[in-house]
């Protein structure tokens, strides 16, 4: 992926998190907020069910952007996101990006993570060193 130009599409990443993905992520990250792991608690506070961690979805955005540099963990220099619609388990997440600028070996990619028509992460901007 060395040759990227403004307007190019970054490779799409599709992931369907399983029913227990929020629990797995809670263990990995240490964030055990009950809105992520307890459907009854989540419903009691007005959510449709237990929701994905925003930082899990951001992790997928990071993974999608690192893939542009063959997954090199040094490549991602900066990632800025806004959390919007709630992410739900057992629904496909599609991460897609468009090259916004190219400056030498640095590319900036506008990225969005969608579940159906809902943007769960929007205005994500990733700076990647190639």
């Amino acid at each position: 992926m060395a040759d990227l130009n403004v307007g190019d599409q970054a490779p799409e990443l599709s992931v369907t998190p399983g029913k227990y993905q929020p629990h797995i992520y809670a263990g990995a990250s240490g964030d055990f907020n009950p809105i992520h792991i307890d459907p009854e608690f989540a419903k009691a506070v007005g959510l449709p069910g237990n929701i994905l961690h925003g930082l899990y979805s951001m992790g997928l955005v990071a993974r999608a952007n690192a893939a542009i540099a063959d997954g090199d963990p040094r490549a991602l220099k900066r990632l800025s996101v806004q959390f919007r619609g709630m992410g739900m388990p057992e629904q496909e997440i599609v991460v897609s990006g468009t090259v916004k600028s190219v400056d030498g070996d640095r590319v900036v990619i506008d990225t969005v993570a969608q579940q159906g028509d809902t943007a769960i992460i929007k205005n994500a901007e990733a700076e990647v060193a190639l």
């Binding site: 992931v15 993905q21 797995i24 992520y25 263990g27 990995a28 990250s29 240490g30 964030d31 506070v45 925003g54 930082l55 899990y56 951001m58 992790g59 997928l60 990071a62 993974r63 690192a66 997954g71 090199d72 963990p73 040094r74 991602l76 220099k77 900066r78 990632l79 800025s80 996101v81 806004q82 959390f83």
Partner: protein, 146 residues
């Protein structure tokens, strides 16, 4: 009632996190990341790392805990029940590898009221055992109905 802004500019001392191979593996698996540099020390060394290297967003594991005492600080006085994570920025520098000891300090950058919502912005700066910066995080929390 106006939003409490006493904490603007306040800084909190660092908390330290010891990075280990198994935690990196667990995090990478949770995100479906399969690059061997996160699992296999030989692969990591062949790629130029000291040891198994953390994926960039592993930053939440070592820097997130530093915000615990910040969010519970009485000067901040945040209503957790109405809080959502609104935005996040990470800027990475030195890679983080197993065996590293990462110290993260925190600062309150701003507290503002807009359209009946409170916007709380905190910064974390994480450095490794050699004093090299590994990541800088900007965390925006939004509290509804302030």
């Amino acid at each position: 009632m106006p939003i409490k802004t006493d904490a603007i500019g306040k800084e909190w001392p660092g908390t330290t996190y010891q990075v280990g191979r198994e935690k990196i593996k667990e995090y990478a698996n949770a995100l479906g990341i399969d690059n061997p540099v996160h699992f296999d020390v030989e692969a990591a060394r062949a790629a130029g790392f000291r040891d198994v290297v953390a994926p960039p967003m592993f930053a939440v594991v070592y820097s997130g805990p530093a915000l615990g005492p910040v969010l519970f600080d009485p000067d901040v006085e945040m209503n957790f029940a109405a809080m959502v994570h609104g935005g996040q920025v990470f800027e990475w520098d030195e890679p983080v590898c197993s065996g590293d000891e990462i110290t993260t300090s925190s600062k309150c950058l701003s507290i503002e009221e807009k359209d009946g919502k409170g916007f709380y912005v905190f910064e974390t700066v994480s450095v490794n055992q050699d004093g090299a910066e590994v990541v800088r995080g900007t965390w925006t929390n939004i509290v509804r109905g302030v």
